[in-house]
Amino acid sequence: MNNKVIIIGAGPAGLSAAITLAEKNIAVLVIDEYLYAGGRLLGQLYEEKPGTWWNGIVESERLLERAKSLEVEFLLQTSVSDLEKVDQTWLIHTTKGIFRTRHLLLATGAAESPFPIPGWTLPGVMSVGAAQVMTNVHRVKPGKRGVIIGVNVLSSAIAMELQLAGVQVAAITLPHANLLTKGNSNPLEVMNSLLHVAHMAPSPLVKIGSKLMKNDFMKKLGINFYPKNGVKMWDIPIMLRKAVVEIVGKDEVEGVILATINTDGSIVKGSEKRIKADFVCIAGGLYPLAELASLAGCPFHYIEQLGGFIPLHNEQMETNLEGLYVAGNITGIEGAKVALAQGKVAALTISQRLNAGASQHDIKLAIQDVEKTRATAHIQFHPDILAGRQQMKQIWAESVVPLATH
């Protein structure tokens, strides 16, 4: 039992690690609390190039089939509640009992970080990821007509997915500014971050953007003249000069109060209008879900570019605790393809520790593959992701005495 590697999280990082380990004839158990394997890869659906779709369900099934053919063991619908180390062994407490391993990979992904809007506890308000899963995985419409609050890479991608499934998106717009909305509520900052993802979509916004807005003056001009009713992307109005002041409804969402905002995010008095919606999505971004690494006793570092508090780890995906590894969004918010590549690195590192035939050269190549995948990523969550990765590398180099290789 102790020779089996345990992976917590059946998302892209966990599945890819499981496959790589099983290919080296190492026994693997994957634990996940969701109904199906695939993690948040399941909901993803976007056109990579005309006619070629990245279909998360197909990708997840492909990975699951491959893992199963290699006799990887899966324990789905199983929640992990605690993690402790006794002697050399990690004890994993789950709803299906306690499992033990010497080599544990945490691939627990990310959670959404919301911003508050008055009325956001009403039934019908959900995280943008919730709407994605409901639509693409469960194939149930989150509602008839929705408003997405928060304009960013994730929300615009999901808006498009909703549209594709026949769910009407009345608007993607900003939250009314408070101390927690930060860059999310400032039209100029949002515009800046959108320009960064300009390559992403055939959008008129981008056309206004990339040519016109090379300098700050032009950007300010652009946002000043930004149409009050928004610019349409895939037929969805993107409203950078509007903000949701409140979500309204008696017992469930009935609509939102939308106001026109100035370029600094402040409200134009008297501009408030009520628009109808039966669901609302909050899109505040993602943060690494690292609670198990915390219970294990990993040191953490706050790195904004990576999405928040990150457990200390090296490029080989090892933490400073013996037998504990990390891969995927727990190490920083990036796309599924980077997670897949990281899962492979973690698995090769574990194989090397188990003397199961992975050379330092193999690991090096896998790390290079992560870098290549990152460089060519379709979706990038933070423009300075590289700086964030570099910072973690630096912290590791300064703080960790290299683990003894035996």
């Binding site: 039934p123 308000v125 959900m126 995280s127 989150p142 008839k144 026949g166 469930e252």
Partner: protein, 113 residues
């Protein structure tokens, strides 16, 4: 009523599993074997899954992936089950969460003044 997405331009036609029935607060609902309770209820227009224990404010799904516990309900007698992670089965008995009979939150009022 919220609809199911029967056909999808990229994902194709929806393949439904065996039809099952379950109850939510004594009302009978239909769903498909193994799908999430939250999805089955939403497909039939049910958004409110519980009332906040203290304030009685209605709540429904928020994260839909097991993180937020907002969708917790009583399933076959077990409290605190997440509707978003619970696969439905025939004859399942589901009850919404209700307010506590006695508030435990009065201390805060005393603290404020």
């Amino acid at each position: 009523m919220t609809e199911r997405i029967m056909s999808h331009p990229v994902l194709g036609n929806l393949i439904l599993k065996e039809k099952v029935t379950f109850t939510f607060d004594e009302q009978v609902f239909e769903g498909y074997e193994g799908e999430s309770l939250a999805a089955a209820l939403l497909a039939q227009g049910i958004r409110t899954l519980r009332l906040h224990e203290e304030t009685g404010q209605p709540r429904g799904i928020y994260c839909n992936i097991g993180h937020c516990f907002e969708c917790r309900v009583n399933v076959n007698g077990l409290e605190g089950e997440r509707a978003c992670l619970t696969p439905i089965s025939d004859g399942m008995v589901v009850k919404s969460g209700q307010t506590l009979p006695t508030s435990v939150r009065d201390w805060r009022k005393n603290l404020e003044q």
